[in-house]
Subunit: 354 residues, 4 copies
């Protein structure tokens, strides 16, 4: 079978490096073109020595028409607001596109403008965009031409709370999501906050209640409420605090909520098992608490459900690799679906431990 | 002025090492005797090479009478349940004692027995014990002969929430404390969970809703409620999840709650400033979010207050060094008060940065 | 094609976890049996949660006859001195075996006894054992039934110096190998030295001039000298100091030597390129200095050659993943050769970066 | 006694932060003025939150005359080549100055120009400059008005080899210094190499044989050779490779050499003890190998001497904190001597462990 040729735009960051790695390992995908503005003209193996000898391409400048001429399908790993036009170009050319930015994730363009300080100049395309979380939107993704791949924090937060929302179990105004991320989540551009001596032996809460991933978490969770699929108005709002933790990769999200009615832990866990039946990349863990060390480099999302009966809280813990299930891996998982390939193709490798 | 001679029992762990370091730096304290069962007979400088040339003592076996004969005042850094009798011996000998274990922290012996699976065989002494958080109990500590020094997590959690409780602002059943600790908080005994390759590139939630520090947090916070000082029955219960983070030292505690009535952020911050006026070791930080890197090795507790007006939560962040303000430093701070020395004597050194 | 069934003995350590991971990814190998004394009866996914859902076996106790009945080929990842008998059993059963211990690496049983304090009770098998470094002994490995897979440090040290020895360029008594290893190299058994707070913000030289990997480095390098293939008496001895570095994986070896005759750097580099022509897993790097971050989790060995013309030294730097090219990956590379599979089958995945 | 007022120029880097911390702790020094170009106008506590509440000054722009008007003595923590003129201004004003840059370390201006690509426009002052390693030049420092404080690597390298050179024991052309540094040694300016995800799980050799600290190591060691004090021509050259290690602080230097005549280890160690008799900050360690974790945040230099009798090498290991004994602490140690204060005043605090 002839391989499908893919183009990757904006690949000199960490998510881009992971796309390059995962495409290189994928049995049915083949790299056509890779772009980066700051590394244009440089060999991939010079920017990412890990790929030396494995990827022979050089980075090019982004020119959508060239990218599209060469590629059967496209991944866009551009910064937020920079994907607006390239997505439109891909759509026009009829090429399947997975956009890793936030530009097409929010259904309501006013919400996008509010959080990203940019008007959404292709708002008419939003109805075609499917939020790229296959565990929630598998069928829609398979039919989509445009997938808006989720942010790293939302991947963990939505997956750990979705079964509770789908059964309308959660008391509104009781949801706290305390998320912790490895520093690669901040990207590859040096800055004081990510300078090794500042970030090491350090633990940095940031953008308390103000992180841009909040609206997509609320959009997706509230859409799961029975009888509420089409509403964009949040029924629940979440307290969300991200923290930078001194590790390279991985997100651990600890979410707290109170239930509308008491429930036994065993019943809650059964409900999660049913909800994620058949989801190749969700692993439910009872005795072993999820931890980034079990999933780093892999596309798995480990979820644990716990109950603090004494104080009346349900606590869920989710771990994902921010660059794989939280970015490049999830994008390929969606692309597999769009291309009618097996959903898990090229993505089943486990974490190297330790 | 003649120095006051102190004995330290159980000093071959990390809190003990810090007691040795801080006593060596203290202008009015002098080490009389130091004990450790597993290192008895070994020079301090062999167990802790950082102290080589600075502390000339060797560890001895714990024999309370010898310890007491030699020392004017005593620090007990023994494991939980192992301080019950030595404290009684110190009390009998009339020597001021600061106990770093949990054995005399909880006012209600039934609560102690429930969480520590051990009957409290000296329950009559509990009325003499003062919870050793000087920011809350300065005067009582100064008059006490027995101080029960707080746990590391409770130091952060209580200090970050105390002003809100003292003004009865918090809605019960809305308190979530998500705490993160460096691995030294787990002590110095090797185990798989703390083995470097397991703990590095790792983030481990543990004892979700079940950590033994919960009852002292609830005891101290509820006691602050106006009109409720004597009650041991928790008015509020807290959801508490500790996490192990790949750093050596430091606790970062992120606490969430909802208020009974809306409040402006500026008013909340003013309330904290008033509450902690004169507290040498509490630093309130508005623009710079507290981070363990600013306080490691020091006795400071940095606190930041934030408001998520959109979702209706108050978020407070506290950072302490688990071994200093969370253990040895706080114990010395209390001892200074008991000995009528300046509260901050020997404790003002800032963190070495980075 | 029917898969080849492999047994793995002693797989509850880190090298064992890597063997399990790499076998799971290998297109032609299939796990038959896996043993561990301390984890016998436990599911692989409970000991290594990274493999949950991917490896369904449970650990068994080692019983060589069962292992051999079930498996077409065997990997032994047992501690040093514990492989002596199992290897003999495999040989008797005629099953190809790759032994990851040191037990069959040294040609001279007296040298083995001196460094491992154990008489070699199967010394007659040593003539059948091939030192499992495919870059040096590819043909012999392909014909062997017993491969003694190299230690992690020797893999780096031998590969970085082999071309110089093969051309007899090195002045004896000038070779210094300063090696640095991630902590996983110390294994998975907790001990104070590897306790996170001790090993973090720490850098530990150990066994200075006394590490057991020294004799195999000297054996292999001296055997490369023209005219000296059969001698076991070292022509050169090396100064070798290993260090523990606060990272999980990876070895960086910095080797220094003086040449018998001056040589231009370009000529030296050309000589390395020629020597490693066709070696799939050796990557020569000129501008980018080898670093564990480029090879972690992969089977590559990156080598850089540098000249300090001013002071008269050649400095070579090699990076390998101690658990892959330094252990499990190399063992599979040798097994591929023994089984007449492509040498790089199942081993080409690059490092996940960062 | 009235405190001595000191000015610090260029204090917004890590060495500057340490100078501020150590001056704050010093019983006889008091901060007069502190300058920084990039942080001028900002409060010290905003740039270094660790010092909030402890240092009330704001950074100013450097104006030598103001600095000198205000201060009794001066520390210059400016970048290399930027101290040339300010030192001259201090000398003219007759104020004692400790310069932490390399500008006055090398006796031979031609060597300076060669390694720093800048002509030394105040070469006539070099004769007045004393190399600020008190263990070698105590008396000269006490009489000096200009002290050139050593680099971090040379502090370790010179101290670990000095006794061997002073007794002319070392074979020339056999000296290898393999040095490892925490990332704070690279300064506080963000760059890709020091970006957390690049520097973590990473180990980077750099400037192999080309680091600017080489000439001062050679200058100082060769000057110790009997009969050779005045010569600037190196009798020995060293192979020197620095490495960046994923820790915040600390240098570990492993040095190898061959002796002119065989010597027993006990004799070598005795020789070191004699040489460093009375040196408050050198700790000789036999059984416990020096490790940065024992000295971080402190002014101690731990040294261990080992012999590889089999292969014929002496291996010495030295550990210093690059920012304290390798920079700010050593500068204050020299200033104490210049000001006729006790050499160790304000500097005896041990490392916080772990």
């Amino acid at each position: 079978m002839k391989k499908i040729r893919v183009g990757i735009a904006g690949a000199s960051g960490y998510a881009g490096a992971e796309l390059l790695r995962l495409v290189a390992l994928h049995p049915q995908l083949e790299l056509a073109t890779v772009t980066s503005e700051k590394s244009a003209g440089t060999a991939v193996g010079s920017v990412f020595p890990s790929l030396a000898g494995l990827v022979s391409h050089s980075f090019q400048s982004l020119a959508p028409e060239t990218l599209l001429a060469d590629a059967d399908a496209v991944f866009l790993a551009l910064p937020h607001t920079k994907s607006l036009d390239p997505v439109a170009a891909c759509m026009k050319a009829g090429k399947p596109v997975v956009d890793l930015s936030a530009d097409y994730r929010l259904k309501n363009p006013a919400v996008y403008e509010q959080w990203y300080q940019t008007p959404h100049r292709h708002a008419h395309l939003l109805k075609d965009a499917v939020y790229g979380l296959p565990e929630l939107h598998r069928d829609a993704i398979a039919k989509a031409r445009l997938v808006a791949s989720p942010g790293c924090y939302p991947t963990a937060a939505i997956l750990q709370l979705a079964p509770l929302f789908a059964h309308d179990l959660v008391q509104p105004d009781t949801i706290v999501i305390d998320a912790k991320s490895g520093i690669s989540g901040a990207g590859r551009s040096p800055a004081l906050l990510y300078h090794f001596p500042e970030a090491h032996e350090s633990l940095e809460p940031y953008k308390i209640g103000q992180h841009r991933h909040i609206p997509e978490i609320e959009q997706e969770l509230n859409a799961l409420l029975p009888g509420n699929p089409a509403s964009n108005k949040p029924a629940s709002m979440v307290a969300f605090t991200p923290h930078l933790v001194p590790m390279n990769r991985g997100i651990l999200s600890t979410a707290y909520c109170r239930l509308k009615h008491p429930a036994a832990l065993a019943d809650l866990r059964a409900l999660y098992r049913t909800y994620y039946k058949g989801a190749s990349f969700v692993r439910l863990s009872d005795d072993i608490v999820p931890n980034p060390r079990y999933i780093k480099g892999s596309n798995y999302c480990d979820i644990g459900v716990y109950a603090d009966q004494r104080a009346g809280w349900v606590v869920t813990v989710a771990a994902v690799d921010n660059l794989v299930k939280g970015a490049a891996g999830q994008a390929i998982q969606a692309m597999n679906l769009m291309l009618a390939l097996p959903e898990d193709m090229g993505l089943t490798a486990p974490a190297a431990y330790p």
